[in-house]
Amino acid sequence: MNDLKIAVVDLDRRTVEITSREEDLRRESVGGAALNLNLIEQHGKENLIFGAGPLTGTFAPASALLVGSFASSRAGVIVHVPLLLTAGPDFRCSGIDHLVLLGAAERPILLHIDGGRVRFVELPPQASDLPSLEVSLRRSAPPFRSAILTGPAADAGVSLAAVSLGAKGSLDKAGLAGAMAAKNLKGILLGGSGGIGFADGDLRCSLELAGRIRRERKRGGGFASLVESAGGGDCLKALKGAKFSDAACFHCPAPCMVHARFTAADPRLPQGPKKQNGLLLMDPVGWIALAGKRGERALPLLWEAVRLGLDPAAAASLLPGEGVLTSDFDALSAMARGERAESPSTAQAPASSDPTFGGGLVAVGTGEEARRRTALAFILGVCPLLLQRFPQIVVDLPAFLPVDFLPASLDRAVERVLAQG
Amino acid sequence: MAGRDERIRRIEKESGIDRCVECGRCTAVCPMVEMYVNFSIAMSPRGIIKKALTGEAVAADRNLWYCTECNAGTDACPQGVSCRDLVRGLRRLVLDAGKPEEMNVCPGCGGPFLAVPVEDFVLGRLKDEPPNVKNWLKLCPACRREGYLRRNA
C-alpha cells in the first residue's frame, strides 16, 4: 500500500519536513478528515491541515476530494472544507497525502508542491483578482496542474472570503480562505506530475460502478436536481437564457455541475464572441442565495463574487434588498475591500448545510445516516455529494481500498469526525 | 556584471561540467548531427561544455542556440553531466537580459518558443506544406491547442 507522506511546513521559519508515516496512523485514522483531526491534535489547533483520503485519485468514482481542516472560531468546532474538481488527485500526484501548515509567513507567499517536495514561491506582481492571478502564475510560477487560491477578499481579511480552485470558486463557506490569509498563505500550487498506484481489479470495478451510476441517474439531473434538493427549485427560472454544458469532477460519471454561458450585458464583464461570458456553477447553495435575491441578475453577480474570492451565499445576504446591477457590483467590490458591515456568522446559508463540512454542501439526504455517509466520504477522499446521491455505492467503495483495511477503524474514524460537530 | 558571472558559475556547477571527461558520448547520441548541415563540434554538447570549462564567453555564443534540449546527452553521459541544464541555464540568462535574435517568440502568447536554428530545421523539413500551415506552426504548442479548442470545441 502507498506510504503515507505528510509534509509539515513551518511558514515562519520557511522549513519543510516530509515524513513517511507508518501504517499505524492509517489504521487508526484511515485518512482524510479523520487523519487531519489527528494532525491538528498533534500540532496544535491554530494550524491548517490539507489532506487527501486513501481513495483520492484512485479508480473509485469521483475520487476527487481534498479536505482542508482547521479550527473555526466562527463555528466553534473543527471544520472540514471540501475541495473538489481535481484538487485531491493533483495533491496526491504531487507526492504528498497531508500538508500541515504551522505558523504564519511574514509576507504573502505561495507554496508549490510537486515530486514530493514543497517550495516557496513569490507572489507575482499586480494580481487584482483571481483570474488574473491564475494567468500570472501560469507564466511565472513552476508548472502546476491546479491551484487552491485566495482572492482579494481574503487579502483584505474579510470574513466572507472563500477559497477558490483556480478561478472557479469552491464550496468554502466556513472561512478556509480566512484561515489561509491569517497565515499569509496566498495559495497552494499543485504540480501533480506523479502517479498513484492501484490494484488490478480496480479498473473493472470502476467500469461496473460507473455503468450502474449512469443508469441510475436521472436524465438532465445534475446541478438542477441539486438545486431542487436544496429547496431552491424556483430559482431555476433565473437560469433561463443561458447555455449549459455539463461539467464533472475527477473521474465522476454523474456530473452535478454545469458551465453556464450567458450574455454579458454589463460592459465590465469580459466578453467573448457574441458578447458572452461564462462561469462554472458548482455551488448550489451560493446560487440559490443569489438567485433568491436577485433573480436573473444572479449569474453576473455570481461571476463577480467568484472573481473576488467571496462566498456568494454570504455576499447575497449582505446585498441590500433592492439594487441594480451596477450598484450590486459596487457593493460586492466594497465587500471585498472590507468596507461592508459583516454578519457575525455564516448562518445565512440554508440551515440544512452542515457547518462541520464547510457549510457549502447541499443536503441531499437528511438524518444521521446521511451525516455518516458524508463523514465517510470526507475520510475516504471521495465526493460526498456522489455518496448522497447514490447511497448504494457505499458498500462498493471498500473494494478500492487496500486489503489490510479494517472496517472497525473506518467506523471509529467516522465517529471521531462526527463527534467534533 | 559580477552577478551575471556568478549566475554562470552556478549554472555550470549545477550541470556538473567539472566532471566531463570528454568521452564524446553526448555528441554520439545528439540529434543535432542529423539536423544541421553545418554541424560542428562547436555546437555539439561536448563543444559547449568545453567552452564553458575554458571560461570563454559561452553565453554569447551563437552555437548555444542549436540544441533541442532533448536530454539524450545527459542520459548517455557516464559522468552524469547534464548538457541540457547547462544550455538551458545559459539560454535563460540570455533571455532574461532581453530577447536574443536567436530565439523565436510565439506570436500568440509572446513567450519564447523555438530557437531560430531549430525552427528553421523543422520548417525546412516541412517545406512542401502550404504557407498558412507553416505560419500556424510558429505558434507554441499551448497556443496551438488553444486555437483548436476555440475552433473545434
Partner: protein
C-alpha cells in the same frame, strides 16, 4: 462507446500485405478515435486510463492524451494524435523515430527517440505530449487497436468508430450515371441536344441558347425544358454534371481506369475559360446562323451518335476520345475549364439554394483532407483544411457528385441551405490567445 466488433483485426487484419481487387473500389477504412466536444464533461477519466497504460499508475500528467479546457466557454478538447495520412511529425523527426505503419498508426520507436520534442513542434495540434515527470515524449498509439479511453469515457464523448461515411452514395450515383448514359445515348436518340416526343421537349440549355442566337426565335418546347433545368439547377446546383451528363460518365470511367494525371499548363487552368467558350458559342451562333458549338460538343456527339439516326460516325466520333483525353491531365478538367454547358449551368447555380459545407468543428483538419483529395472539381481548399478552417466551397463549380459527403468519415461534410451559418468562423493566430 465503441462500434461493436471493432478491435485489432480492423486495424491490422491478417494478410494486410495483399492488395485485392476490392481495395480498388472500396478502400480499407481504418477505425479511429472520434471526440465529441458536446459530450465531454471534463472528468479526465480518459487521461487517467491512458496514463495507467503508460506508467502502470494513475498519473494524468503522463497520459498520451490531454484535455485542454476553456474555462470561459466551458468547453473541453481532447488533444491526441490523429494518425494523419501525411504526418508532419514523421517528416520532422531528426532521428527517424516516428513512423507510420501499414496499419495507419503513427508510432514512436523508443529506441531512436531522444525526446527532443521536434515532433510536437511540427504537429499542428501539438499532439505529442511531454510527460510531466520524466519529460519523455508520449503519443497516442490507439492502444494498438483497442483504445482504453473510449471504453471508460462515462459520457461517450470518445468513440472508436470507422466513421459515418455514407458509402451508398457512390453506388447510387454510378447507377444513375449509367442509366442516364444508356437513356440519353442509346434510347432517346439524339436527345439531349433536342428530343421531341409528342409535345415534350428536352433540350440542352446551351444548345437552346445557341438556337436562340442562331435562329433569332424562341421555341416554346425548348424553353420549357430550359426552365426545368434552370429551376433544378438553382435548387440542386450543377447536379446534371455530376449525375446525368453522359460525357461526364465517360470522364469518370476514364478517371477510374487510368488514375494517373499529367497536369495542365498553368495558362489553361482558368475557370473563366468556359464562360468565354460559352460566349463564343453564342456569338458564333449569331454570326453564322447555326449552333456552332453543338457541332463539336462531346456530349452532343455522344447523344447523337447511336443508332440509325446517328449523325456522327467514324471520324467525327474522334471528338469524344480526344476530349476525354483531357481527363488524363486533371480530373474533370473539361468540366472545370472548358465545357460551355457547365458554364451556363454554373451561371444558373449562382442562385443556389443549397450548399456543401465542410464543418470545421467535426473536421479532422490537416490529418485527413480526404474530401479535398476526392473532389473531382478540386474546389475544396485543402490548405485551409490543413489549418483547421472551413473552406468556402463555390457552388458554381460543384457538380454535386457528393463524393466529399460519401468519403468523410467524421460526418463533417454536410449539405446545408445557403443561408445557414452552422460553421464556426475563422480564428486567426492573433486571436488565439485573446
Amino acid at each position: 462507446m465503441q462500434d461493436e466488433r471493432l478491435g485489432i483485426d480492423d486495424l491490422r487484419p491478417r494478410g494486410l500485405e495483399k492488395r485485392t481487387l476490392m481495395d480498388l473500389f472500396m478502400p480499407r477504412r481504418r477505425p479511429f478515435i472520434l471526440f465529441d466536444p458536446d459530450r465531454c464533461t471534463g472528468c479526465g477519466t480518459c487521461e487517467i486510463l491512458c496514463s495507467t497504460r503508460n506508467t502502470g499508475k494513475i498519473a494524468p500528467a503522463s497520459a498520451s492524451l490531454r484535455i485542454v479546457r476553456d474555462d470561459a466557454r466551458g468547453r473541453n478538447l481532447a488533444v491526441y494524435c490523429q494518425h494523419c495520412r501525411k504526418p508532419l511529425c514523421v517528416e520532422a523527426c531528426p532521428t527517424r523515430a516516428m513512423t507510420r505503419g501499414e496499419d495507419g498508426i503513427v508510432r514512436i520507436e523508443k529506441l531512436f527517440c531522444t525526446s527532443c520534442g521536434l515532433c510536437t513542434a511540427a504537429c499542428p495540434e501539438a499532439a505529442p505530449l511531454r510527460d510531466g515527470r520524466t519529460a519523455e515524449i508520449r503519443k497516442c498509439d490507439l492502444c494498438e487497436g483497442d483504445p482504453l479511453c473510449v471504453k471508460h469515457c462515462p459520457n461517450g464523448a470518445l468513440s472508436y468508430t470507422k466513421g459515418k461515411a455514407f458509402r451508398w452514395i457512390k453506388g447510387v450515383r454510378w447507377t444513375v450515371q449509367l442509366i442516364s448514359f444508356l437513356l440519353l445515348v442509346m434510347v432517346f436518340l439524339g436527345t439531349f441536344c433536342y428530343f421531341n416526343a409528342g409535345s415534350f421537349g428536352l433540350s440542352c440549355p446551351t444548345g437552346t441558347l445557341q438556337n436562340i442566337f442562331a435562329t433569332g426565335r424562341i421555341v416554346l418546347a425548348g424553353l420549357a425544358s430550359f426552365l426545368a433545368i434552370f429551376l433544378l439547377t438553382v435548387l440542386l446546383g450543377r447536379f446534371f454534371c455530376g449525375w446525368l451528363c453522359p460525357f461526364g460518365f465517360v470522364l469518370d470511367l476514364v478517371d477510374r481506369i487510368i488514375p494517373k494525371k499529367f497536369g495542365l499548363p498553368k495558362f489553361l487552368k482558368t475557370r473563366m475559360a468556359k464562360y468565354g467558350i460559352l460566349g463564343g458559342a453564342a456569338a458564333g451562333s449569331a454570326a453564322f446562323g447555326f449552333q456552332v458549338f453543338c457541332t463539336v460538343c462531346p456530349i452532343g456527339t455522344l447523344c447523337r451518335s447511336y443508332g440509325q439516326q446517328g449523325m456522327f460516325r467514324g471520324a467525327e466520333m474522334a471528338i469524344v476520345p480526344l476530349l476525354a483525353g483531357l481527363e488524363l491531365t486533371e480530373r474533370r478538367s473539361w468540366c472545370r475549364y472548358f465545357c460551355p454547358v457547365g458554364a451556363l449551368l454554373a451561371l444558373f447555380a449562382k442562385l443556389h439554394l443549397l450548399k456543401i459545407v465542410i464543418g470545421a468543428k467535426k473536421c479532422k483538419k490537416f490529418s485527413c483532407i480526404q474530401c479535398a483529395e476526392v473532389c473531382p472539381m478540386g474546389i475544396i481548399d485543402g490548405d485551409k483544411l490543413r489549418e483547421g478552417l472551413s473552406p468556402e466551397i463555390p457552388m458554381t463549380e460543384c457538380i454535386g457528385c457528393l463524393r466529399c459527403l460519401d468519403r468523410c468519415p467524421y460526418g463533417a461534410a454536410k449539405i446545408r441551405f445557403r443561408w445557414q451559418k452552422g460553421v464556426p468562423g475563422e480564428v486567426t493566430g492573433a486571436e488565439v490567445n485573446r
